[in-house]
């Protein structure tokens, strides 16, 4: 029985690893191919099957005047918009979540849970419903086709995630911990940043990761709210696909698109397992 279990375990782990890693390997190899090696027959091994070329990668940094697509600027635009919007969402979202977790709000029939649901409900709506209001809103305040406008819209999209994750996290931090901090001479702000925040690092990291992922992969709003001045990476990558599909540069751009997320995941992974609250309340 246990042998079968071990076998099945390793079988599924191997299967899943191949399932996840194979497309990456395929993309890596395709990014070094030229038109001939992609379209004539199936090729696998560089130098034997096909002659590797850097053309697919060069296109990404060449200016359009020279026949390239230049994703460098959209790349940094994406990084700027995602990071700024995530940071602001985390800061505001964490403060909002702390308030929702610790204080009791009453306004008519509205209670804490209703406010929390109000935040989350922003994500329940299909994005298409929000597109026209956002378009009109940004054009009214003159932020259409600008980085700042995208940051504003992304904060609206990302903050609910931050609030949602952090409310749940703070609800699991014992209230007695804040109270002890107050008794030990902290005013409420000090109690928050000296005691509650250092113990919330795992929650902050999870929230931050979700914000970065959802910000980075958004195509819809980046597509609708920008035209020529500003472009974000997902839009640019999709735009690569013209009458002839340039599989080599598509593969290369796909790889550079996921690279930041993979790096973030590796950095964050070690912090996720580290922090725990077991010492606060046993």
């Amino acid at each position: 029985m246990s042998k079968l279990y071990t076998f099945l375990k390793y079988f599924f782990i191997t299967f899943w690893t191949v399932f996840v890693v194979a497309p990456f390997l395929w993309a890596v190899s395709t990014s070094f191919k030229d038109f001939q090696s992609v379209n004539s027959k199936v090729t696998y091994i560089p130098w034997l099957d096909f002659e590797p070329t850097l053309e697919g990668w060069r296109v990404l940094i060449k200016s359009p005047a020279k026949g390239g697509v230049d994703i460098v600027e959209p790349y940094f635009n994406s990084i700027f918009v995602t990071c700024t919007a995530s940071l602001i969402s985390i800061v505001l979202g964490t403060l909002a979540a702390y308030a929702l977790s610790r204080f009791t709000f009453k306004a008519g029939f509205v209670r804490n849970n209703d406010i929390t649901f109000f935040f989350i409900s922003q994500r329940i709506m299909p994005p298409i419903v929000l597109s026209i209001p956002f378009f009109i809103f940004l054009s009214t305040i003159g932020l259409l086709d600008s980085l700042l406008g995208l940051v504003v819209v992304y904060i609206v999209l990302l903050m609910p995630i931050a609030v949602w994750i952090m409310v749940d996290f703070f609800n699991r931090v014992p209230k007695e911990l804040d109270e002890t901090a107050l008794i030990d001479g902290c005013n409420p702000y000090q109690a928050f940043y000296k005691v509650v925040l250092p113990n919330s690092i795992p929650g902050l990291i999870v929230a931050g990761m979700f914000c970065i992922i959802f910000g980075w992969i958004d195509f819809f709003f980046a597509f609708i709210l920008t035209f020529t001045e500003v472009q974000l990476l997902p839009v640019k990558v999709v735009a690569l696909n013209s009458s002839i599909t340039p599989w080599w540069s598509l593969s290369a751009s796909a790889l550079v698109s996921v690279a930041p997320l993979i790096i973030v995941a590796f950095i964050v992974e070690r912090y996720l397992s580290k922090g725990n609250l077991s010492g606060a309340l046993k």
Partner: protein, 359 residues
């Protein structure tokens, strides 16, 4: 210069958490608050700490209106029944936290922390993480943090309740030592518990609390010997004092078709119906005694608790040896009539074996 509370009420929902509570705590004394779960003990301590604001009433300390002072300026210390420490700090940093908050000099901090560590017996654990400590050690860290602060008011909210039996016994002994040595004459110590035995051992002034109301105040011995009513008698004994509905006539005490000779301290009682109280430890197995049916027999340590029934009365007897009984078995027991309490039908104490009456 005392901590004085007057007519404090706190009613956040339909029920009173505190109902007209008054107290006068003097410096250098130990006060215990005895009450069952949800009797308002924690609420009272939190009100003193300033974490809760009462709806009515006033608290003053050193002639100042305490309610106007925010928690972080009150200079109180509190130990919770859960082991609350700062998980992101190690033992040493945990204890220095309140001292740094008060901006004491590094030399002073080191001296105070070392002293506190010594008092609670955690020398050598300075660099441990909180998560690496056992429950008892965690509670010691919390206590050390409270002691190092040298707060004028030290609140302990059922500090032993979440520990296992052995650790509880051990820490209780240490508490007695710490309270007698480690505290200055400037400190008011307030200790809440559900355990009557703890109250007797700490031997301070007791406040018996139930449903947010003060039932009785006085020295531990007085509460034990002369509980002012049935509720106090139940709360201040573990197992709770047995209550037998019965009556007294000129010759006998009668209950459940049992007649007992009238003990001396009942001689002057009026002949009428009473609620008789008798402690579980004053009931003995006796071949010539009265027959009761066993409903449950629990062995706890070296004692056996017998839950007995006769007619409408259910009582608990404490036998000081380990014995095995069958359920529904009949046993014969004898009551020590000299230790009978008499409570009136209004549940107030009428006569006690220690001479106390309720007015």
């Amino acid at each position: 210069m005392n901590l004085i509370g007057e007519k404090i009420s706190y009613k956040p929902d339909e029920q009173f958490h505190l109902n007209d509570v008054s107290f006068n705590f003097k410096k250098g004394n130990l006060y215990t608050i005895l009450g069952r779960t949800l009797s308002g003990k924690t609420t009272l301590l939190k009100t003193i700490a300033g974490l809760l604001n009462p709806d009515q009433g006033s608290i003053s300390f050193e002639e100042k209106d305490f309610i106007k002072i925010p928690v972080w300026e009150r200079n109180v210390a509190m130990v919770y029944q859960q082991f609350i420490n700062y998980p992101h700090l190690n033992v040493y940093e945990n204890i220095t936290f309140p001292l740094k908050q008060r901006k004491l000099s590094p030399e002073q901090i080191k001296k105070d922390v070392d002293e506190a560590l010594k008092t609670v017996g955690l020398v050598g654990f300075e660099n441990r993480k909180i998560q690496e400590l056992s429950g008892g050690q965690q509670q010691r860290v919390a206590l050390a943090r409270s002691l190092a602060k040298k707060a004028k008011i030290l609140l302990l909210d059922e500090p032993l309740v979440n520990l296992d039996y052995k650790l509880r016994e051990q820490l209780r002994e240490e508490f007695k030592r710490i309270f007698s040595e480690g505290l200055s004459q400037d400190t008011i110590l307030i200790y809440s518990t559900t355990d009557p035995q703890e109250v007797m051992e700490l031997n301070g002034e007791v406040i018996v609390l139930d449903e947010g109301k003060v039932l009785q105040k006085g020295p531990a011995k007085e509460i034990f010997e002369n509980p002012s009513n049935l509720k106090v008698a139940e709360i201040s004994n573990d197992p709770p004092m047995n209550v037998l509905k019965g009556s007294k006539n000129s010759k006998n005490l009668n209950f459940e078709n049992i007649s007992l000779e009238i003990p001396n301290h009942f001689k002057n009682l009026e002949d009428r119906d009473y609620n008789f109280g008798i402690r579980a430890s004053e009931i003995k197995l006796d071949e010539n005694g009265e027959e009761f049916e066993i409903e449950l027999a629990e062995i706890s340590g070296s004692e056996t608790l017998l839950h007995l029934k006769r007619g409408n009365s259910k009582i608990i007897a404490l036998i000081e040896e380990v014995m095995n009984f069958k359920i529904h078995e009949k046993v014969k027991i004898n009551f020590n009539a000299n230790k009978f309490y008499a409570f009136g039908e209004d549940e107030k104490l009428v006569s006690s074996p220690y001479g106390g009456t309720n007015g």
